[in-house]
Every structure is written in C-alpha cells, then in structure tokens.
Symmetry: C2
Subunit: 93 residues, 2 copies
C-alpha cells in the first residue's frame, strides 16, 4: 500500500539572521502608509506531493529533502505539515 501525502513546507530565516528583503518590504509598506506593520520576515513556502509506505517514512524523507535541497540549515529553519490525500494499492516500498 502506497500512501500519497500533500506536504506544505515552510522555510524561514533563523531569527538571528538579518533579512534585507524583509526590511525592504517593511520600508516599502511604511512608504505606502502602513505604519502599523513591523517585523516583516520573508521565507519560502513549498508545496509538493510525496508517496511513501507510511507517514513516518514520508516525514524522514522530507527531513532529508529539506536539509539537502530546500533549506540552508546554517541560516534557515524549516517545518512542514503533511496531509494524506490518497492510499493506493501497489507494490510496497
């Protein structure tokens, strides 16, 4: 049985890391008149579908994927949500 999961991955800069893009957006917002906005931080949001034998395997693979490709662990944190969307009969892996 193969399960298919929708993953939502959030990659954010670590709090101690400067975020020039966030500072630029905040300054742009102030110029547009939004003085009530602060602490703007910009990160990445990644959606993907992953197939795995069970949720535990999917989570382990997503951890490796984030560490290897999606996030830079030196300056970024990540977290993800998994939602099962389908269970398919097939070769077990």
């Amino acid at each position: 049985m193969i399960h298919k999961y929708q993953a939502h991955i959030y990659v954010t800069l670590r709090p101690s890391v400067l975020d020039p893009a966030g500072v630029a957006v905040e300054s742009g917002l102030k110029q547009l008149g939004y003085d009530n906005v602060e602490q703007v931080r910009i990160g990445k949001y990644i959606d993907l579908m992953i197939s795995a034998a069970n949720e535990e395997t999917a989570r382990q693979q997503l951890d490796s994927i984030c560490d290897q490709l999606l996030a830079n662990p030196v300056i970024e944190n990540y977290r993800f949500d998994l939602v099962e969307v389908a269970a398919l009969m097939g070769a077990s892996s």
Copy 2:
C-alpha cells in the same frame, strides 16, 4: 484599545502559471534519488506583525498590502492566518 496580530501570509503561483523553480527543484530531487516526489510548487511565506483596532480592520489592511506589494494578483494567489498576540491600551485608531 489596539490589538496586535501575528500574520502568516502564503503567496502561491496560480495553478495555471508555470513554475520553473518548482520544476528545477523536482528535477534536482529526482537526481538525488527522490523519485517519489512530484508537483513541486514554490511560493513565498511572509511573517509580520500588524496593529489594528480589531481583526476586521487588520484583515482589510492585509488584503490591501498583499494586493499592492506582496503578491502579483495577475499570476499569484495569497491567503493569510491571523493570530492575536496582544491587546494594548492606547489611542484608538
């Protein structure tokens, strides 16, 4: 009374819009051996703090902010979550 809200904003490409960065990530993952991943789409994730008289006002302002600066409504969708983090006594605005 001024309420302070933490907003999490998700900006994603519309489904009909090609996502070359997502395709590149998917191809990179396959090269790393992750053949069980598909439909990779990359968006932006923005955290900010907004102060407003009430949640309705905060939501309206966030809608304008997203339309004007954070998202390109021609090719992108956005959605956001609001969480109240503090209520401060002060000049009403």
